[in-house]
């Protein structure tokens, strides 16, 4: 909402306050002023002049030499290129020494041998926002009213000596979407009386209104119409044009401008129809019909739905209520009779209509947020008054009002306790101060002992509860008076979730091991996920902003791969990254249940691992990833098993599922080369954990057991097995074989070899076994016997042969 300082000042004494001070006061009372902009953007020494004579420039076709009277007896000779320069016009004249917006300084200058003693100005050259002016005021010189005093400074006569506040109003303060509303507010903030009439008398015309009105929808509780005849003047006076301009509303023609002017003044949107376009002289307010269409004022044909309210005659729709008029009833230069509409419409319905048609007019915004019921009649009277004054129109009959007896808008009565208010705010606002707040707001107050009755006028529909009154007191008294206090609450250990602690533990560990945490977007596309081919369906947004971000992600790999791709393309040779984020899973869509949100830890190793500067970087491999997984699981106190897995997006021979008691908690594997290529990350290794399954298994409890006193004996065995045998199988078999003897402390594979000395299709595994008992030292014979048993078991199970 923009607001003209001068317009406000018409109704309130602001002489002692600069616009900047006023802006501060408004902001600290909750009406944030984003900007304070002078309308005059740097016009100096530009005066009103009259072109007396125009003759062509002898040397240049497009230039004219004008004799200009600037009211000092002498005539100035000024060269001008504007096509509309003509004798008799009153125009702005920049005298030598004048300044124009943008730092332009005017000097006596020579144009092809003729010296020019100044410059005749267009609106644009004076820094006026031309988009708010009608076309004829924008082309060429700005033509001023003939009766302006020659030689006087143009600034006050053009009403440029004004300042505009750009207010960022919160949606609850629709009452301030008008000059009168703002004056009410300022009157409360500044504690000084306003001086405008509480109501505007009707035009006094009597007799029957020539228009009938029928309300056929409950979404229009009130409709008033006034018919006027004859439009003698169609040009909007300069002051009104400039006022509309200051408020950011485009001037169209006098009738439309009057409706807009009154809307800005009263906050009540109005509409003007060509009364002769209304068939059978009857206005019907109803819901639109299925399939009904209407060409609106902007020339667009709109498909209407039964949710929309239309203004119609018995034959056809002539306007979209509260949103935009119809072209078929537009005011045109041939219009003879005007029907002015002032009505109330259901805000929610207006809002839906605007959204459905992507329209957002000033009128619509006011209806959405609510207009003052008391303004309906007043605004209609005021517009009628202005059209009589400015256009020379005559009212025809009295206004038509439906329903005939208007319910007087009922004030809201709130019971208010000053003590509760002070307690709530935590500051002892004096009772008289509270009273003064309400009074200056125009609220009625019946003071009681501890219980006041506060009557809130209908224009402040946002104030309904005691808390709303507390806010009025707080903001007018000043938030800065509220002290900073400590709560008197019991000391309690916060209940903290284990999962959050575990996420922190995981984050710390991974960072300490060299991984960088990333945070990526949860919105993605099925195309981006296609290489991973996650199960289920991607949950789509109803109205995505782009194709790239139109579904909820089902997998973390695409997000992490995008980070890797970006980095590889930006001179980062490689890295290890992780994210703790959610994936969203649905078996089908739409479905009856919300998508499942699953917290996942995803990790990706891509590009080259940089070690010591003297060592050669090498690509990350499976075992880098598995090492981190192992360490992480050790940190969480979780024992897992790795099993060969078969995800299509991973390398068929380099992937494993990570399982606890047969339940999969994670996956680790090198990307399938095709997937690496599709994500443009080359060779990379991915690992993920389902945190919902992993974290319940985590344990940070420690029960120490004694360190064995008897020495352990180590035996190293090299066995040859077929390539397909996994080392873990030999480890498991050794444990199983010796489980009853209780002698095997630890088994570890420490080398894998293929090549000379090992038959084709086989590999040699070097495995160390540690033998130990807690209560005594083992004999060599016992150990030898155990080793033999293991070798026998390996041979039986895997055909393992001791390597000679």
């Amino acid at each position: 909402m923009r607001a003209s300082y001068k317009w406000l000042a018409e109704y309130l004494d602001l002489a002692d306050l600069s616009p900047a001070e006023l802006a501060d006061r408004l902001t600290s009372a909750g009406l944030a002023v984003d900007a304070v902009e002078p309308l005059n953007r740097g016009v100096e020494r530009v005066v009103i002049g009259k072109i007396l004579e125009v003759r062509p420039h002898p040397q240049a076709d497009r230039l004219k030499i004008c004799q200009v009277d600037v009211g000092r007896g002498e005539k100035l000779e000024i060269v001008c290129g504007a096509p509309n320069a003509a004798a008799g016009l009153v125009v702005p004249v920049a005298l030598p020494g004048a300044r124009l917006p943008g730092g332009v300084e005017i000097r006596i200058a020579e144009f092809r041998g003729v010296s020019s003693h100044g410059m005749l100005c267009s609106a644009d050259e004076l820094g006026i926002e031309t988009r708010y002016l009608p076309k004829r005021d924008v082309e060429g010189l700005l033509i001023l009213p003939e009766d302006l005093p020659l030689g006087e400074d143009v600034v006050p006569h053009l009403h440029l000596d004004d300042v505009v506040f750009d207010l960022d109003l919160t949606p609850n303060r629709s009452d301030c979407l008008s000059i009168r509303g703002l004056v009410h507010e300022l009157s409360a903030i500044l504690r000084r009386p306003h001086r405008f009439p509480a109501s505007v008398p009707g035009p006094g015309a009597s007799g029957e209104c020539p228009i009938e009105v029928r309300l056929e929808t409950p979404r229009c509780p009130r409709y008033e119409a006034q018919v006027l005849e004859g439009i003698a003047v169609r040009e909007t006076p300069l002051w009104m044009k400039m006022r509309l301009l200051a408020m950011g509303v485009r001037s169209i023609d006098l009738v439309v401008d009057v409706t807009n002017y009154v809307m800005l003044e009263w906050g009540q949107p109005l509409h003007a129809f060509d009364a002769d376009a209304i068939a059978h002289g009857t206005i019907v307010v109803r819901q639109a019909r299925e399939g009904e269409r209407l060409v609106t004022l902007d020339g667009q044909e709109r498909a209407l739905t039964p949710d929309m309210i239309v203004i119609a005659d018995p034959e056809k729709a002539i306007g979209l209520a509260g949103v935009m008029g119809g072209e078929n009833s537009e005011i045109t230069p041939s219009t003879r009779r005007i029907a002015l509409e002032s009505a109330r419409f259901d805000g929610a319905s207006i809002r839906r209509t605007g959204q459905a048609l992507s329209l957002r007019s000033e009128a619509q915004q006011r209806f959405e947020k609510g207009v003052d019921p008391a303004a309906v009649s007043n605004a209609l009277h005021r517009a009628t008054e202005l059209l009589v004054q400015l256009a020379g129109s005559h009212p025809v009959g009295a206004p038509r009002r439906v329903p005939a007896e208007a319910d007087a808008p009922k004030p809201t009565v709130i019971s208010f306790s000053p003590r509760a208010c002070a307690r709530f705010l935590g500051v002892d606002v004096p009772e008289d101060e509270m009273y003064a707040c309400f009074e200056s707001l125009g609220f009625g107050v019946a003071r009681g002992e501890d219980e006041w009755r506060v009557e809130v006028p209908a224009r402040r529909s946002d104030v309904q509860l005691p808390a709303d009154l507390y806010e009025e007191v707080a903001r007018l008294y000043g938030y800065h008076h509220i002290p900073a206090t400590s709560m008197r609450l019991p000391v309690e250990a916060p209940e903290s979730s284990d999962d959050l602690k575990l996420v922190r533990k995981v984050r710390r560990a991974l960072v300490d091991w060299g991984l960088c945490e990333v945070r990526t977007y949860a919105l993605t596309s099925p195309e981006a996920e296609a290489p991973v081919a996650p199960s289920g369906v991607a949950v789509p947004l109803l109205r995505p902003m782009s194709d790239d971000r139109r579904t909820l992600r089902r997998h973390l790999l695409p997000s992490l791969a995008e980070v890797a791709r970006y980095n590889l393309a930006h001179q980062v040779s490689g890295g290890a990254i992780f994210e703790v984020g959610k994936v969203f899973l649905a078996a089908s869509w739409p479905q009856d249940a919300l998508p499942e949100e699953r917290a996942v830890l995803g990790m990706l190793w891509f590009g080259e691992r940089e070690g010591h500067p003297f060592e050669r970087p090498r690509p990350y491999d499976f075992y880098d990833a598995k090492g981190v997984c192992d360490a992480l699981l050790a940190r969480l106190g979780i024992q897992v098993a790795y099993r060969v897995s078969h995800h299509a997006y991973l390398h068929p021979g380099r992937q494993a599922s990570i399982e606890v008691g047969g339940v999969m908690v994670g996956t680790v594997g090198e990307l399938h080369p095709d997937v690496g290529d599709r994500y443009e990350v080359g060779r990379a290794v991915y690992a993920e954990f389902d945190l919902g399954r992993l974290f319940p298994l985590a344990s940070s409890e420690v029960r120490v057991h004694s360190i064995p006193r008897h020495p352990a004996s180590r035996r190293d065995l090299a066995v040859v097995v077929p390539l397909g045998v996994e080392s873990q199988a030999l480890v498991d078999e050794a444990r199983r074989t010796l489980s009853e003897r209780g002698v095997l402390r630890m088994v570890r594979v420490f080398d894998v070899y293929t090549g000379v000395g090992v038959p084709e299709g086989h590999k040699s595994l070097a495995i160390a076994l540690w033998f130990q008992r807690d209560e005594r030292t083992l004999t060599d014979a016992e150990i030898d016997d155990a080793v033999k048993a293991v070798l026998r078991a390996w041979e039986t199970a895997f055909g393992a042969k001791l390597r000679s």
């Binding site: 929610a348 808390a467 916060p494 060299g514 945070r519 980095n567």
Partner: protein, 348 residues
């Protein structure tokens, strides 16, 4: 006779000491030892020849021989120590390395700045007695809006353009639905003191200051007798903990449908300390969060009688705090995950 012996012994001693002084390394020293003290040495020969002497001469000479031998052994040991020390010094000198070369790499990752900020804020509020809870990112219209006093077709819905999944389900536009969920879970028990960090989503074009996904931290306190001044006190304690003890907060009236009264909360500008600079547009204050007293309707809808209980709520953006704290000018940096950017947070 014994004089001859004595002279010879003296000569051996003198020669040996002279040659010992010339021995300059362990090898020469060992050779000297063999030559001077070994079986085939002159001293050795002398002691073998003593057999033919009278017992008296033998005793006298024996003693003299022993003395010389002991003296030479001692001299050898001293010389050996000297040489060893010199050799060790030489070896150590040879072992000198370039200590300015880099050390063996210990890879260092980094916590994402948003996580860093969330953790710090969680720590501050848990130290003030708040619990940390999390909530779903896919919400219902009911929780995201209606129970927060934002009915359908309410103009306040324009404040938050929403990603809908269906007519009723959406990506939460704020963490505020957790106010209601927390009160429902607490079933009328008090006091409630929680903060809720989490990802939220809005239909905003991504630019330097907007992101369609960002991170909010919601706070909620409900009990009997909670005052608006407590809101200010709590946020001021928070601001001091996060940005330093000279911080202060300023409340400005504002509007949120689920709080009444509502306020925007400003901090003393972290860039200029309040003097006024470009960052704070000369005001000395920077807006940091939105807050207010929990709206009576929200309390009532969540099972807390608004005539008995009051409370306050606040919501702040982790990205905004991260940007202020680390001097990040474009919010997109936080989601681009350029490792050259992220690695700058190794020590954060």
């Amino acid at each position: 006779m014994s004089d001859t012996w004595r002279h010879e012994l003296e000569a051996i001693r003198g020669e040996a000491l002279a040659s010992l002084a010339l021995a300059s390394d362990s090898k020469a020293l060992n050779e000297w030892r063999v030559e001077v003290l070994g079986k085939k040495s002159a001293l050795g020969q002398m002691s073998r020849q003593m057999g033919g002497l009278s017992p008296d001469d033998r005793r006298v000479l024996g003693e003299a021989l022993n003395r010389v031998r002991q003296e030479l052994e001692q001299a050898w040991r001293a010389r050996q120590a000297e040489i060893e020390a010199k050799e060790k010094a030489l070896r150590l000198e040879r072992e000198r390395i370039d200590v300015t070369l880099p050390g063996r790499d210990v890879p260092l990752g980094a916590v994402h700045p948003i996580s860093r900020v969330i953790e710090d804020i969680e720590d501050i509020f848990t130290s003030l007695g708040f619990s940390v809870v999390e909530g779903p990112e896919v919400e219902t219209d009911h929780y995201n809006f209606e129970l927060l006093n934002i009915p359908k077709d309410h103009p306040a819905r324009d404040m938050q353009d929403t990603f809908y999944l269906t007519d009723e389900w959406l990506l939460r536009t704020h963490t505020s639905p957790m106010q209601v969920r927390t009160m429902e879970r607490m079933r009328g028990r008090t006091p409630i003191r929680v903060i809720v960090p989490g990802r939220v989503y809005r239909r905003d074009e991504d630019d330097a200051t907007h992101s369609h996904q960002f991170t909010q931290i919601e706070g909620l306190v409900v009990d009997e007798g909670i005052r608006m001044s407590d809101l200010k006190g709590t946020l001021e304690a928070f601001a001091k903990a996060l940005f330093g003890p000279s911080q202060r907060v300023r409340l400005r009236p504002s509007y949120f449908p689920f709080t009444e009264p509502s306020c925007e909360v400003d901090l003393v500008c972290v860039s200029c300390g309040g003097a006024g600079c470009r960052m704070c547009k000369g005001t000395g204050w920077i807006e940091i969060l939105g807050a207010g007293m929990v709206h009576p309707r929200v309390l009532d809808m969540s099972g807390y009688d608004s005539s008995r209980y009051t409370g306050f709520a606040f919501g702040l953006g982790a990205e905004r705090i991260a940007m202020l704290r680390y001097g990040i000018s474009d919010i997109r940096m936080l989601y681009q995950n350029d490792l050259r950017f992220l690695r700058q947070f190794r020590h954060a």
